[in-house]
């Protein structure tokens, strides 16, 4: 009844003794997530909240606790190394919350992960949550979620909470909510998550939240048209944003018109999605789709 995280999730937090790391590790635990280990180099042997063992390295932590998901809170200059360390320990899922990771580092890490067994979510993402399994691996407010059958995938952080808030408010629960992050280069894509929701027997409908810029929504649309058999409601925000000031043409040449909200909405509509007209209509559109 979920994807990526569930009752089997054994969570490790990299950077567990930092300000953000400790705050959110505690919140994840409070939500019900099975937090089995923390990693902070030099603090191996200590414990977190009196009961979660802290290790010097991810490989030690994984060996000792069987951790299978790592949530990463290390500062931007060290984020790439932290992801590589999780990959080296063959952790199946690494979730990098860190904002401000250099694009070059993200590209290097993603190239390195090709053909490796580790999936990266993020960087610069809110993480993911499966309310039905009480598995929260991220920084989202747990209380707004409710177990159910709608899969949510989004490039955004707080806008995902908005979407979830509207869904829960209308009594529409979620199977898993995944924030893929907004950085130009990131790990898991819309397409990856859509494919998993499509194959998840307990997800009956999908809500996708996109933004202007890039071509990720078009790739999602192409995948939906070709493969997704479940109803998808999609929102694109930034419809009314004025074109930003910019220098040079390279970005525009790469994405062409695809970066525009109108182009993304057209592509999603043609792919058979219900296009959510305004950000206020996320819940209602999803509810109507399920009815």
């Amino acid at each position: 009844m979920s994807i990526l995280v569930n009752e089997e999730t054994r969570l490790l937090v990299q950077g567990i003794t930092g300000r953000e790391g400790s705050f959110h590790a505690e919140r994840c635990m409070a939500y019900g997530t099975n937090l089995v280990a923390g990693v902070t180099p030099g603090k191996g042997g200590q414990t977190f909240e009196g009961r979660v063992p802290i290790f010097d390295s991810v490989s030690e932590a994984a060996d000792a606790t069987g951790a299978n998901v790592s949530l990463i809170f290390v500062p931007p200059p060290f984020a790439a190394d932290a992801i590589l360390e999780a990959a080296d320990a063959e952790i199946p899922l690494a979730v990098c919350i860190t904002e401000g990771v250099p694009v070059r580092d993200a590209a290097m890490v993603m190239r390195y992960l090709e053909g490796k067994p580790t999936r990266l979510l993020g960087p610069n993402c809110p993480g993911l949550i499966t309310p039905g399994a009480k598995a929260k691996v991220g920084i989202m407010p747990g209380a707004i979620h409710a177990p159910g059958k709608v899969g949510v995938v989004s490039r955004s952080g707080t806008l995902t909470y908005e979407a979830v808030g509207q869904l829960t408010g209308l009594g529409v629960g979620q199977s898993t909510c995944v924030g893929i992050g907004g950085d130009p280069v990131s790990g898991t894509t819309f397409v990856d998550v859509l494919a998993m929701f499509n194959d998840d027997p307990e997800t009956e409908a999908i809500v996708m939240i996109g933004e202007i810029g890039g071509t990720k929504e078009q790739e999602a649309a192409a995948f939906i048209a070709a493969h997704v058999r479940k109803p998808v409601a999609a929102l694109i925000v930034g419809q009314t944003a004025p074109p930003g000031r910019r220098m040079g043409h390279a970005g525009a040449v790469i994405t062409g018109k695809a970066a525009l909200a109108s182009e993304k909405m057209r592509a999603l509509e043609e792919a058979g999605c219900r296009v959510i007209p305004t950000p206020a209509d996320i819940g209602a559109t999803a509810a109507a789709m399920l009815a």
């Binding site: 931007p76 990771v101 250099p102 070059r104 190239r111 952080g157 130009p184 220098m247 390279a250 970005g251």
Partner: protein
């Protein structure tokens, strides 16, 4: 972070990319000296963080050192408005004085990161000059791309392939390949997000030269490039945006009258959309970012209010890392300090939402609370 043309050319030259002989000048006298070194005739180019300078009168040919001085004096201190600067324009503090040449062909060359491919790509076209975006739309087959592997870099065979597809003469295959490699190394080692050479010219003498050069660097990577971080020219940015950036706040000034303060870029865009759909006009985009504290919220509000066009304010906070009560205290603090207090519509959800609403209610501010986006939009429109 954007570099000026002269900084970009210096950086590229350090990597071995050929650029025309040039000198930076901050005065007419310096420009005349430079022109003299170049043999009298020279091109004088205004240094601003934007393209489209030629059409805007920012690039002129001087036939003599005296004329170079004249042009430089007319440009330095002026504000140049190009298609890429927006109506406010950008101030000119320096000019680049560069040798003239006989141009045989103009090409387009750039490196930028393609999010879909998750790696840099080299983009090249035999159709150089200003209209590359139009070429990309209308004749995409004329725009060539070569993805650059993030770990092994741009390879010689790609340079050869690109040179052949651009129809470069055989003698230029190696120089061209070396130039692209130099750009890719600079892009990688300096954490660039864009390098653009437009035009890349083939001179009548058979020489390849970067006639113009634009470079943007990744702000998130400046911590490992202290020298380049020092190249920032804040005068080229909107002063409010520059202030905001310093405080870690994403702020873009717009021309409406509804000041918006939101946490998260996606929700901020959604908020702007909602405002516009309700028939009102946002005065700005403002994302206070993740994990803001009371002080940062307060600064964001003051920043928003410093725009005299703001007649109403909309605060939309979905508490996650940021607690709503903290946000509310920041808002109250800012309204206490501000010299004017436009009516406020506030929406607070998520972590400590009730506490946040309570803080606002007890503050005595003229704050209207909204629970949903619809309500917020309706309230702002009233």
């Amino acid at each position: 972070m954007k570099l000026h043309e002269y900084q970009a050319k210096e950086l590229l030259a350090a990597y071995g990319a050929p650029v025309p002989e040039n000198y930076v000048a901050s005065s007419g006298a310096e420009a005349a000296d430079a022109a003299r070194k170049l043999g009298g005739e020279a091109v004088v180019k205004a240094q601003v963080h934007a393209g489209g300078r030629g059409k805007a009168g920012g690039v002129k040919v001087a036939a003599s050192p005296e004329e170079a001085a004249q042009i430089a004096e007319s440009l330095i201190g002026s504000t140049l408005v190009t298609l890429q600067t927006g109506p406010a324009g950008a101030p000119v503090h320096k000019v680049l004085v560069e040798r003239t040449m006989e141009i045989e062909r103009e090409l387009y060359l750039s490196v930028a990161t393609d999010g879909s491919r998750r790696r840099p790509v080299v983009i090249a076209s035999a159709s150089g000059g200003m209209e590359i975006e139009e070429v990309a739309q209308t004749e995409p087959e004329k725009v060539l791309t070569e993805p650059v592997d993030p770990v092994i870099g741009f390879r010689a065979f790609q340079g050869r392939r690109l040179a052949a597809r651009l129809g470069l003469p055989a003698a230029q295959t190696r120089p061209f390949s070396a130039l692209v490699e130099a750009c890719c190394r600079a892009y990688d080692e300096k954490d660039a997000t864009m390098i653009e050479i437009n035009p890349l010219v083939l001179t009548a003498g058979g020489e390849l030269l970067a006639l113009d050069a634009k470079i943007s660097l990744d702000d998130d990577a400046l911590f490992r490039h202290p020298a380049e971080a020092g190249l920032r020219d804040a005068s080229q940015d909107d002063p409010l945006e520059a202030q905001a950036a310093e405080a870690g706040i994403a702020y873009v000034k717009l021309d409406g009258d509804i000041g918006c303060m939101v946490n998260g870029a996606g929700l901020a865009m959604a908020t702007m959309d909602i405002v516009q759909f309700a028939g009102a006009k946002p005065a700005n985009f403002l994302d206070v970012g993740g994990g803001a504290g009371e002080e940062k919220i307060s600064r964001a509000i003051l920043l928003m209010l410093s725009d005299p066009n703001v007649e109403k304010a909309l605060v939309n906070i979905f508490g996650g890392i940021l607690r709503c009560d903290v946000a509310a205290r920041g808002v109250v603090d800012a309204y206490g300090k501000a010299d004017r207090r436009p009516p406020l519509v506030a929406r607070m959800l998520g972590t400590n939402a009730d506490e946040g609403k309570e803080v606002l209610a007890r503050s005595g501010l003229n704050a209207r609370m909204a629970d949903t986006l619809q309500e917020a939009a309706a309230a702002i429109k009233e």
